[in-house]
């Protein structure tokens, strides 16, 4: 059985300087209750790994508004003007990574791999500082794995063992982040009885999940 708690209880062990992965794509599939609890807790100096900084007041954008991040690994900050400004003025270290590379770095982190070889970014500024490896005449960049202390995720439904299912485009980075963090907290719309998710339909196995929080 996975412990079910409130959002505030779930984030209590997140402390200054930690690395947090947060699911979502422009706010869709982001655990809003957990992000809100982290904002209320006020923990600073966080390294956040997430697809995008969403919009002001939306999803991960709230952590941009509250200036709780010191480093942000992401693919897109165009929805939140403050991210761009903070990057220009050096207030926030932003590592921009192609979205598919970011996904593979996270997948590699959770899969025990030493990284991945991707052709994406060859011949662009993305290749700066990275090893280039040629396999069968094609050049690839070595992209290193990403891991985190915590993952804050959103799923549609969980059973009491933490087996998860998602809804439409709210799945995005959540399943891969579930594998790549030491402690995985999942906000769900509903916790349903054991046996109500067919084993074949489970998207994220419950073994990855540490805490469940009931959200919207």
């Amino acid at each position: 059985m996975v412990k079910i708690c409130t959002a505030n209880e779930a984030v209590k062990d997140i402390s200054e300087g930690m690395c947090i992965m947060i699911g979502g794509f422009l706010g869709v599939g982001t655990p809003d209750g957990l992000v809100q609890a982290l904002v209320e807790k006020g923990t600073k100096n966080l390294t956040v790994i997430t697809n995008d900084s969403a919009f002001p007041g939306v999803g991960v954008g709230k952590l941009q508004d509250s200036k709780q991040m010191s480093t942000l690994y992401t693919s897109y900050i165009g929805g939140h003007p403050e991210s761009g400004r903070c990057m220009e003025e050096g207030e926030l270290k932003i590592v921009l990574t192609p979205q598919g590379t970011l996904a593979e770095q996270i997948r590699a982190g959770g899969s025990g791999l030493g990284g991945v070889l991707t052709p994406t970014g060859v011949g662009t500024i993305v290749e700066e500082g990275k090893s280039k490896i040629v396999v069968a005449d094609r050049t690839y960049l070595l992209e290193e794995p990403l891991k985190a202390d915590f993952a804050l995720l959103k799923a549609y439904k969980a059973d009491c063992h933490g087996n998860l299912i998602y809804r439409f485009s709210a799945r995005n980075f959540n399943p891969i982040m579930a594998m790549a963090a030491k402690t995985v907290i999942v906000e769900v719309e509903e916790v349903i009885a054991e046996g109500t998710i067919e084993p074949d339909n489970v998207i994220t196995p419950g073994i990855f999940v540490d805490l469940l929080v009931k959200g919207r």
């Binding site: 706010g27 869709v28 598919g100 970011l102 996904a103 994406t120 662009t124 399943p175």
Partner: protein, 219 residues
């Protein structure tokens, strides 16, 4: 010609490049219009990089689903034969060559098929999102854009001066003035738009265009 007329002309011409059954990723903005102009009998499968295949039309506002948006965050629908997946799978589909065609806008394209469409030094940066993966991974890369910038400067150039999105990946450039194919030896002008002249296209292009006047078609 109004801005909208130009965009529709481009979208209609891009639509002719798509075949029945193609898996297609349309960039945000003007490329999205292409889906409205598919030839009769052509049905395509639209890929959305935030994790599904089978994008359907925009819903009426009251039917919007909070969990169903396109890569620009706008509400969409999903077709009955659609399917959902995570971001790693989504980009495996892209990078693995399972997307037949992607249609994207550009800031600059050059004679080698290099593309710059994600950043302008000194201007606020947005990030590349999924564009770099799409341009490297999709089988056919179509650039859909206005032929020149608003200030009259060329977007099709000898060599890109802006930071690249990808190197030598562009296959076809479709603008309001022309259709240009990118081959190993450079840019080949294959069609010009109705009401446009060859001289106008050449003057609006800062790259060398290969063509033989007799073979240029009108679109």
């Amino acid at each position: 010609m109004t801005q909208m007329d130009k965009r529709i002309r481009i979208a209609k011409r891009v639509a002719k490049e798509l075949h029945d059954g193609d898996v297609v990723n349309l960039g945000i903005g003007m490329p999205t219009l292409v889906a409205n102009y598919l030839s009769h009998g052509v049905s395509i499968v639209l890929h959305s990089e935030n994790g599904f295949l089978g994008i359907g039309p925009e819903p009426q506002a009251e039917l919007a689903d909070k969990d169903l948006v396109n890569a620009g965050g706008k509400p969409v629908t999903i077709q009955e034969n659609g399917c959902c997946f995570d971001s790693a799978m989504s980009f495996a589909i892209i990078r693995g060559g399972h997307v037949d065609t992607t249609v994207l806008g550009a800031l600059e394209v050059d004679e080698q098929g290099n593309l710059a469409n994600w950043m302008v030094p000194g201007k606020r940066i947005s990030g590349m999102g999924g564009a770099m993966d799409l341009v490297v991974g999709a089988k056919k890369i179509i650039i859909a854009m206005e032929h020149i910038n608003k200030d009259g400067t060329a977007k099709i150039v000898k060599q890109c001066s802006l930071p690249l999105t990808a190197q030598a990946e562009v296959d076809l450039i479709i603008t309001d003035m022309a259709v240009i194919a990118v081959y190993k030896d450079g840019l080949h002008l294959i069609e010009i738009a109705e009401s446009t002249t060859l001289e106008e296209v050449v003057a609006a292009t800062d790259a060398h265009l290969h063509f033989s006047e007799d073979n240029i078609r009108i679109f």
